[in-house]
Structure formats: structure tokens, C-alpha cells
Subunit: 279 residues, 3 copies
């Protein structure tokens, strides 16, 4: 499978909504006038590689095969490497080497080729020290989408094993608790957790539903210990404002308040530890 016509270019960044992402659109359309640009998100929390990796990996499997630009770049202007990856599905990913692109490629079957962006002929006409999205990444992504450059031309091959890896968070069962953590807080305030339904199943005899749960946030204030929740298939199975645990649309466990905002109520953010036990 390969990139279609017109080529899709997806774009994720922490640039916010005040023009920087739009400037990259302009660069892309100048070099690839028929690009169909899909903005995945530009409100990734500033510098948060973990959040960017979660959003990118959630989105890419649903995108057409294309070129995927992902720029959360706290190291801009330092020695971190600018890279391009090819994923097994046929997609190309462009951005800094900080783990986000690998997370995205993993969601597309894994990295099959990695190259460092070293061929400055494919970059913009000038290169600032603070806006490589505009000056390096968008021009290379646009040329790859337009097929005016091939992956082999962007720079030398990198060992896949040398790439910076995305943060890994695992759930584990210990002393009758599922110990996990928040890997993402979505815009509804739902807490996406490490771990799957299979992890939760280790706590209980199978197929018992609805399943009463006790939740603890070891790092939070006392009032958020011993929280009662229920494992259900969907929000409508619990009362308004009641807590539920469910399998989210990406296959992760998630903790939410029905029609409420669990993150705000519990004071939880990406990285907050969560313990879950069957009642």
C-alpha cells in the first residue's frame, strides 16, 4: 500500500492555535499544492511527548495512508535529530526523534526504515533556531507527499534500535490490586489508563458484570481514596455523575464520571497513579 492521490498530510503539534500551525500549512501547500491536510491536534500540552504520543497513536490507524508530521519539540535547536520513518502500512512520519514518531509508527505496524533529515536541499530557504516545524519538518513532509523527494533522499539511514522510544506505561497486578496510571486525560476529563480488559480480568472471576470496583489514587488527597466505581460496557449503564470504568475506543481501560469530568473531580493528570480492586 502506498500514499494516495491527492496525498494526505496529517499534522500534530503543541503549537497552539495562534498561527504557527497555519504557517506550516502554507509551507506544505506551497510545495505540495494538492495536499489534503488533516490537523490531528495542535493543543497537545506544551512539550508533552507522552500526550503527543497517545494522541498520534490513537489517530493514525484511522487516517488514510499518508505523510504524518508530528512536532512536539522541547529540544528544538539542540542536538536532537530530525528524522523520517517509514511504517509497515506504507506511511511516512516526519518530526524530531523524541519517541512520538515511533509511537505513531508502532500503531501502523512498526518502523521499517528510519532516516535522519540531513539533506538541507529539501529544507526551507532559511532555517531559524526555534521553528524547525516551518523550516525543516514541513518542507520535507511536503516534498515527500508531493513525491518531489523520496525517503532515500532525506538523509542517511538510522538504526531502528537507535531511535528514541516513546514512554511505556504498563499495568501490573499486585496483592489483588491492578496498579496502573493515567496515560492521557481526554477533553471530556476521562482518564485513559495503561492496561486492558485482560489486565482487569485477573482481579476477578470472568464475566461478572456489572463489576463493583474500588479505586485509589495513592498520590491524591485523602478524599479520593476508596472511590467506588463500576466496570461496565458503556456510560449509559451508570447514573449521571456516577463513576465508571470502561474499555475506551482504543482498547485501554478508562475511568470516567458519566456526564461529568473525572479528571477535574479527582485532580488527576497524565502520570497520576491509579489502583483498582474488585469490591
Amino acid at each position: 500500500m502506498s500514499i494516495g492521490h491527492p496525498p494526505v498530510v496529517t499534522f500534530l503539534s503543541d503549537f497552539g492555535l495562534d498561527g504557527a500551525a497555519a504557517i506550516c500549512h502554507g509551507v506544505i501547500l506551497s510545495l505540495c499544492p494538492d495536499a489534503q491536510i488533516v490537523d490531528i491536534a495542535h493543543t497537545v500540552p506544551k512539550y508533552s511527548i507522552a500526550d503527543g504520543a497517545f494522541i498520534l497513536a490513537s489517530a493514525l490507524p484511522f487516517m488514510p495512508i499518508g505523510v504524518h508530521l508530528a512536532i512536539v519539540d522541547p529540544g528544538v535547536g539542540t542536538q536532537r535529530r530530525p528524522i523520517a520513518l517509514q511504517a509497515r502500512r506504507g506511511d511516512l512520519l516526519v518530526g524530531p526523534d523524541n519517541g512520538i514518531l515511533v509511537a505513531g509508527a508502532d500503531a501502523l505496524g512498526g518502523v521499517v526504515e528510519a532516516r535522519e533529515l540531513a539533506n538541507q536541499e529539501l529544507w526551507g530557504p532559511t532555517v531559524s533556531s526555534t521553528f524547525h516545524g516551518r523550516d525543516v519538518f514541513a518542507p520535507v513532509a511536503a516534498r515527500l507527499a508531493a513525491r518531489t523527494a523520496r525517503l532515500a533522499e532525506v538523509g542517511p539511514v538510522l538504526e531502528v534500535a537507535e531511535l528514541v522510544q516513546p514512554p511505556v506505561r504498563r499495568a501490573l497486578v499486585r496483592d489483588g490490586w491492578l496498579e496502573t496510571e493515567v496515560i492521557y486525560v481526554d477533553s471530556f476529563g476521562n482518564l485513559r489508563l495503561a492496561g486492558s480488559e485482560a489486565d482487569l480480568a485477573q482481579l476477578v472471576e470472568r464475566n461478572r458484570r456489572p463489576l463493583g470496583l474500588t479505586i485509589e489514587l495513592p498520590d491524591a488527597a485523602e478524599g479520593t481514596q476508596g472511590l467506588e466505581s463500576t466496570f461496565v460496557a458503556t456510560f449509559g449503564e451508570v447514573d449521571d455523575r456516577a463513576s465508571l470504568v470502561y474499555v475506551d475506543s482504543g482498547g485501554h481501560l478508562a475511568l470516567a464520571d458519566n456526564r461529568g469530568n473525572a479528571a477535574a473531580r479527582l485532580g488527576a493528570t497524565t502520570g497520576t497513579r491509579i489502583r483498582i480492586r474488585a469490591r
Copy 2:
């Protein structure tokens, strides 16, 4: 009139800006590569059918004839019906049956056909319990836009009279007051009200302008009783920060502060009651 080429797909949701709406873009472009997607809004207050209905009805008359996807779905995963409507102008609307689509269709001449989405062959490959935007609504909308499915194929006909209706808010004149309520707070903090200039005209001899008004918010703190305002044609007719009542771009009465934020100053939100009297 019918949907043009390339087909326009508009999209309104309360999904926020962190990737869920973009995933639906990916689904749409995968099934309808030449779709021209117009994002109407994705920052609709969470679960607010009233706000979603207002924004959709305001926007659709200005959109090309197309497929309109509108997803504010507090009942996802419950028995609420997924539907598609045809409006008199020729547009198709897709989303949950909760009143928003009817509000949108009414702005396009009314509903001429309604069907329940029951044909799962037109849905995505897997259906989660929490993200029907990705798994049900976007795939059906995309296939309708691409003409790889016709409305008659999505599922059985529904009686139009059976559809969930949007919230109705009316202005009425009583004891010399126009009693109305806030139907929407726009991003400037202007309060869009139920009622039209004709309603206001019942209070006074016609054509008297500028017309001095007294405003009361019966539910608000004492300080917001007896507010002085003026009925004028446009903002520039009153001083900076002064209160005005005007006919908004959708034909509703609206209450604003010139270059200020009336909603913040008055503590008003969607649903706040407003009483208006001529001075």
C-alpha cells in the same frame, strides 16, 4: 438541488480539539477521498444539545448543499437511535436522534425523510461502545457523500413525527415585559435571546429609535436588576462598554456590551431568564 462535486461534509461535535474529531476526518477521507470537510465547531459545551442545535441551525443555511454530521451524544451506547435525515433543500444530516439534527434540518426547510441507521454494513469495521462518531456516524456520512450508499440503504424509514425535537424557547410579552431567555452565548460573550424584533415591538410605539430599555435577570444577583440598555441597529451606536440590544445576524434579539463581554459581566449562560421593558 443535490449534493455537489466534490461533496461538502460539514461536522459539528462536542469532541474538543484533541484528536477525536480528526479521527473522524480520517474515517471520512478514507471512504470519500474527495470530501471537502468543513468543521463547524468542535467546542460545543460538552453534552449540550441546546448549544449544538443553535450553532448548527445558524450555520447550515450558509453551507453548500452537503452531508452534515452533528454529534453531541450524551446517550452514546444506550438505546437512543442513530439516524439520517434528508432536508427539503437537498442536504443529508447524520447523527444521534436527540434534536440537533431536526434543528439543523428545520433551518434547511424541514425534514422530508428520516431513517434509522441499522445497516451495519455501512458502519466501520468495529463498533466501540463509546465512539459512535468514528464507528457509525462518520462512516455512514462518508458513504452518503461518496454516493457509495444511498439514503434508502442506511436503514428503515422513521416517522418524522417520532423524531426527538430540539429544545424550543419562546419569548412572550406579559405585564409590559418581554420575557425571554438566553438561547446561546457566543464567543464574544453576547447573549443571543429567544424572540425577534417583532416581539420587542409589542412593547413600544413603532420606529422609536434609539429605544431606551430596562433589563432584568430575575435569577441573577441583585446588582444585575434594572440594567439600562438601548435598542440600536449596531454596536457603534453606543459607547464603549455600554449595553445594547440588537438584532443579531440570525434574526434573534441579542444583548451585548460594546467591546465588552456581557455574559461575564452579568453571569449569564444558556438558559438564563431575561426580562426587557421599554424605559
Copy 3:
């Protein structure tokens, strides 16, 4: 150079994200179905001509030659003139005459022709008193992009010298201090300043880097006097949270905290005065 096919229409406003900008998209696509619309920003601080001018001037040089719609319009409904400009590069700009369009055109080589929008045949079917984006500016921009109208048809020529000019802010050196002010706060909280590296160079012997600086905010609280910072090429040259002065991607001096938010820490906004001295 002239506008390409498909025509690019860029769009900047302070309309926010709740549907008003989308309505203008609908109007544009109705009149110019193949328009490729690039949203530059719609979250410009309400009514802020200075912020709109900064964002537009930063973005336009990176956009394809096109039609640029820029609407921050505190004077809607008053006597301020609706205008269209041609820039030296070949672009057309459409919006109210309040300085923003001139700022944008200056970034494209300057204004070569100015006209007042007076030909109401090119406007929308009805003209509200509060939403000229929908009713006047978007229709004219769309017709220019579609080439169903030429610039000469929009209305009479205006003297370029008569156009409202954008706010000018200059840096000046006095008593060993570079006196400047914040011309824009970007979404990272970085303070973009009037003045360039050449201005800063007047303070010191050349090429001394890293260069220790003392910063003062004359209008701010006492705690923000005597701030230590360093002039460096890029963020990575200072510690996390440390203050730096750098040349931003637009060639302006800027004051930032590495991986922090300088605007929030210092309480600075557009217009805040800043004094810089070499240590």
C-alpha cells in the same frame, strides 16, 4: 506572480471557534467551490488589531499567493471602510480598513492598489449590521478567488496614503538600555519584542555570546525588576526554566523561559514595556 489553481484563501479573525468562521467557510465554498482555505487563526484576542496584525504579517510570507481575508472588526456597522488591497507579491487582501490588512500587505512587499468595497452586487444576499465577515468580506474574497470578480470591480480606488496604518512599535536605545515593548505573546508565553538583533547589538561589543542581560518591566510589580537573562541562539543553551533572549523565527527579539511561560511568570501582555541592558 498571480493566484494559483486551486486558489488559496487564508482567513484570520477574532471570531473564536464556535461557528462564525465556519459560516464564512460555507460562504466561500458556495461561491468558489475549489477554494483551498487555510485558517491562520480565529482566536486573535477579541478586537485586538495589534495582535491580528502581528499574526497576519508573520504568516503571509509563508502562504501561497492567494486571497487573504482578515477580520478583526471592532467598528463593524460604523463608518469604517471595507477594503481590498493588492500586495506587490500578487496577493489580494480583504477586510476592514483598520491597519491589519496594511500590516499583511507590508509583509508581502507593500500595497500596490487599494479599493473600497462599494459594489454591493458582489456581497451576500442580505447584509446584517453585525456580521460583515459573512455578508461582505467572505463573498468578495470568494469571488476574487474564483475570478468571478476582478479587483477593479469591487469599488473605487483609494489612496494608499489614506489607509489606516497598523500600530508601530519601535525599540530605541537610551542611557545604555534598549527600551522596547511586547508586540505579541505567543501560545508558549514567549514575549515577542519590538526591535532586532541589531538594536541589541548597540548595547555591547559585538559577538560576545552568551551575553548576560538584565531585564526590567517598568510597569510591573517590584519582583520583576532586575531579572537576569541571557542572549543565546536557541532555547537549549540555557537551563530548564531559565530566562533567555533570542531572535525569533520572524527576526524579532523575544524574551522567554526555557520550557516555561514567561508571560505568565512576569504578568506581561501585548504592550507591556520592557527594558534590556547588558550585564
